[in-house]
């Protein structure tokens, strides 16, 4: 173990931790103000509000039609999770197990939608989706959200598949299983932890995916994050507490899934792909 010795080195270590602490205190303060405000009766010139109430939640539920918005959100997220799993896992299997001509090109094809920011490809994508008539409906939102998530599933799954001994599959083949049966009876059970991790990460990312949904959603296909944006940008029209009540509903929806996801994955994986096996 390397120990820091000089005073300057110790001072530096302190400075680094102080910086981290400052960041976290402000981050938690930022989240806490939203929660406190959502329960406040009036809050102007004091540290804490004058009184507390829960009525803003009922108000927000009616004003923003949160019931409908939540249903749409779960429909979109559910469809995105299932379809990106169905498209992504088999593709990841082929990428992990076979060497074929053009594989580097295919890999590039899957990397691009993850590296190019949604706002850059979102506008041409929305244009095409409007042209074919998909945008404005829930399917337009689902299709747009699948563009970054399918490659994400592939990139997360490749190292998981590479860890599995290929002799397992050979044995299944010897016993006469076709590709489909080998998948359902051998691979999927072995890969369950990896698939679960990848799909939970897709879920968390899709709930918070603003740009793509914003560009393709119509009045009936808004998800929670787009409805929240609309409420925040129209501040002044509604009571701030009511907007914050909705923000708290959004936070709970997102963070509950995040906590579940973190039981299966390392936080680092939310931004990077899984470590090489």
């Amino acid at each position: 173990m390397i120990r820091s010795q000089t005073a300057a080195e110790r001072l530096w270590v302190w400075a680094v931790w102080l910086l981290v602490a400052f960041f976290i205190v402000n981050l938690l303060g930022l989240i806490a103000t939203v929660v406190v405000n959502s329960f406040s009766t009036r809050w102007f010139t004091t540290w804490l509000p004058v009184g507390f109430t829960t009525r803003w939640y009922a108000a927000a539920w009616d004003e923003f039609q949160l019931g409908d918005v939540l249903i749409t959100t779960f429909e979109v997220v559910g469809a995105v999770v299932v379809i990106s799993g169905l498209l992504g896992v088999p593709a990841a299997y082929a990428m992990a197990r076979r060497e074929f001509r053009g594989k580097r090109f295919v890999m590039l094809l899957f990397l691009l939608p993850m590296v190019v920011p949604p706002i850059t490809f979102g506008i041409p994508l929305a244009t095409v989706l409007y042209k074919v008539g998909a945008a404005g409906s829930i399917w337009g939102v689902i299709l747009a959200n699948l563009v970054p998530t399918v490659p994400f599933v592939i990139l997360v799954m490749i190292p998981f598949i590479q860890q599995i001994d290929p002799r397992m599959e050979a044995a299944a083949r010897v016993f006469g299983a076709g590709t489909f049966r080998m998948f359902t009876n051998v691979l999927v059970p072995l890969l369950t932890p990896g698939i679960l991790a990848a799909l939970l990460l897709v879920l968390v990312r899709t709930i918070a995916m603003f740009e793509l949904t914003f560009f393709t959603a119509g009045p009936t296909s808004q998800t929670l994050v787009v409805a929240l944006y609309a409420a925040v940008s129209a501040a002044g029209v509604r009571a701030g507490q009511s907007v914050d009540a909705m923000a708290v509903v959004y936070m709970i929806t997102t963070l509950a899934w995040l906590l579940l996801a973190l039981r299966f994955v390392n936080p680092t994986q939310i931004v990077t792909r899984a470590k090489r096996a």
């Binding site: 303060g29 076979r98 706002i119 244009t127 590709t179 929240l228 925040v232």
Partner: protein
């Protein structure tokens, strides 16, 4: 030899075909729209085929969005990377970083819209942040931190720093700790160990982190609208593209702006990578092998 067998020798069999649905999906919904947008950008509503680009680069209201976006994105990325490296080097030494990384992943998960709403409360003139500044006597009047350049800047630090940090951490933990211990045993002080051992190994990783963080910051959108001055100093290029597409309903102009946005991002990333290969020659893998 049958066709099937000869294809199989090149690695093309039933299993390889499993890649097709996903690849076709990306071609249809990513490559095709991009090419469609590129072609559409040369078919303006009025004027010759270059009219959109000519308009963009002749109207100050449009072309200044590039410099305004760069003026936000580059300082934010430099700051985030500069903070991430020392913090990641510290965090790598602690035994259980999971609590810390979990806290830091929260702003990424919540997304820019919620962070914007939080900042409007927290950093507003009557928010806790300004209240604390006044209370501790650090300032005599509230500092304006929202609805200007700094609002967008800070929101990009709040969501961008965790992203940059977690990426950097994954590179930093990939460096073999034995290398640094060897340096320490030979008497190198921590600054020398950083300069001569860690930094050269980390340069490729830091550069990739910088590129990814920059691309994220350059495409700032909801926070520039909610926390900035969307008509003034934070009229970023994504706002120009959005306005063209969804307020003026000019898909051709919007596509042209999206293409310009992509071109600037590619230009900066290519310039950085080229600079690296000119200035720095070292292991490409960052010691991660």
């Amino acid at each position: 030899m049958s066709l099937r067998a000869s294809l199989a020798r090149q690695g093309l069999d039933g299993v390889t075909l499993l890649v097709l649905p996903a690849a076709l999906f990306i071609v249809a919904l990513f490559i095709y729209p991009f090419l469609y947008g590129l072609v559409l950008s040369f078919e303006p509503k009025v004027g010759g085929w270059l009219a959109n680009y000519a308009k963009f680069f002749s109207e100050p209201f449009l072309y200044t969005t590039i410099s305004k976006t760069l003026l936000i994105a580059i300082p934010v990325t430099v700051l985030n990377v500069a903070l991430s490296v020392p913090v990641a080097l510290r965090v790598r030494l602690i035994a259980k970083p999971k609590l810390l990384t979990t806290i830091l992943v929260i702003p990424i998960t919540l997304g820019t819209v919620l962070v914007a709403e939080g900042m409007l409360n927290y950093m507003g003139p009557r928010g806790w942040f300004n209240r604390a500044l006044l209370e501790f006597g650090l300032s005599s009047s509230p500092i304006r931190l929202i609805h200007n350049y700094w609002g967008v800047f800070l929101s990009l630090v709040i969501t961008g720093f965790p992203f940059t940090f977690l990426l950097t951490l994954s590179y930093v933990t990939g460096v073999d700790p034995g290398l640094e211990q060897a340096g320490a045993m030979l008497g190198a002080r921590s600054w020398d160990r950083f300069r001569t051992i860690l930094l050269p190994l980390l340069v490729p990783g830091i550069l990739i982190t910088f590129c990814l963080s920059f691309v994220q910051a350059f495409s700032v959108f909801p926070s520039a609208l909610l926390l900035g001055e969307p008509a003034g100093s934070t009229r970023v290029i994504s706002i120009a593209a959005y306005t063209a597409a969804f307020e003026e309903y000019d898909a051709s102009m919007a596509s042209a702006i999206a293409m310009i946005m992509a071109a600037v991002q590619v230009a900066i990333v290519v310039a950085l990578l080229a600079a690296q290969s000119l200035v720095y020659r070292g292991p490409a893998g960052g010691g991660k092998g």
